[in-house]
Symmetry: C2
Subunit: 158 residues, 2 copies
DNA sequence: TATTGTTATACTCTATAACTATA
DNA sequence: TATAGTTATAGAGTATAACAATA
């Protein structure tokens, strides 16, 4: 039934863009209080790279050391993040997710997935299979490209 | 080959969440300068609802009249948006996307789709078909739910 | 001297409250 | 009086520049 569909990248790109815009609406109802979008990004990054220094976090954010330092000030005051002086290099600080920060992240992710499930549950099973297959391939491809494009921190121009 | 996959909503939800996080990285390289994320939302909304008043825009943003007014101040100063006094009700202003604003939106969308295509082009055609099918079903389902949940503006509690 | 991080200053974004003008 | 919009004030987020401490 879909043998004659054109799976051209441009058509899939349009549909994907629309899907993400709809998802933003769905997730917009999932409150992230008391953290802002910026603070959330920091928590996400620390969730995957616990103990990195401020410079590395700044690169992940594509931000500046100053902004990142101020963000950490507030996250630390809120009890989500801890600054620990590096034992190896006394210039550096190690940024850690606190237990409270970790719990908050897990809860948010669970709530987002529940919102998503409300939509997915209303889809035909065959479409869910197709979506799963397509997204798994997308994730694998995107992850490869991202990794290849940004090997370490070679481009200082950003 | 996928006959035994579990297309359960929770599994698809996890993969979708991962896909969106990767997409944010891909699109993070698509600069939206000189507009911020907030200004971009306004342009998007005006792109779909040109000529709405400030109150309606505020509801779409789930923001406050004050913040929205300030946002419009800057967008107007930048030449992306125009404020026109309503001929019907002298209390209201009509918000319009300028030609420049419209061109900016079209250009951004094109650049995002190009970034997306870089990933999609590296995927097997069969996976693109699956992704397309799955996303189309997702969009249709999400749009229906969003419309049903928010019929007009019945809930003032938000 | 180069690197890590913070502080000084300024602008955008956001919100609550107070205000003006219209209905 | 209720509604549409703006302005006053304050806090969060961001950036550039200047700074201290360490390597």
């Amino acid at each position: 039934m879909t043998a004659f569909r054109r799976p051209e990248p441009d058509e899939v790109a349009r549909v994907t863009t629309t899907a993400v815009e709809l998802l933003e609406v769905v997730w917009g109802r999932t409150s992230t209080a008391p953290t802002s979008a910026s603070q959330l990004r920091v928590l996400h990054i620390l969730g995957h790279h616990n103990g990195i220094n401020l410079r590395t976090l700044t690169e992940h954010l594509a931000s500046t050391p100053s902004s990142t330092s101020r963000l950490c000030d507030r996250l630390q005051a809120a009890g989500f993040v801890e600054r620990v002086p590096s034992p190896e290099n006394r210039r550096e600080v190690r940024l850690h997710l606190s237990g409270r920060g970790r719990a908050f992240l897990a809860d948010l992710r669970a709530r987002r997935e529940r919102e998503l499930q409300k939509v997915l549950a209303d889809m035909p099973a065959s479409k869910r299979i197709a979506l799963l297959e397509g997204l798994e391939s997308f994730c694998a491809t995107a992850a490869t490209q991202i990794h290849d494009d940004a090997p370490d921190s070679g481009s200082r121009s950003a």
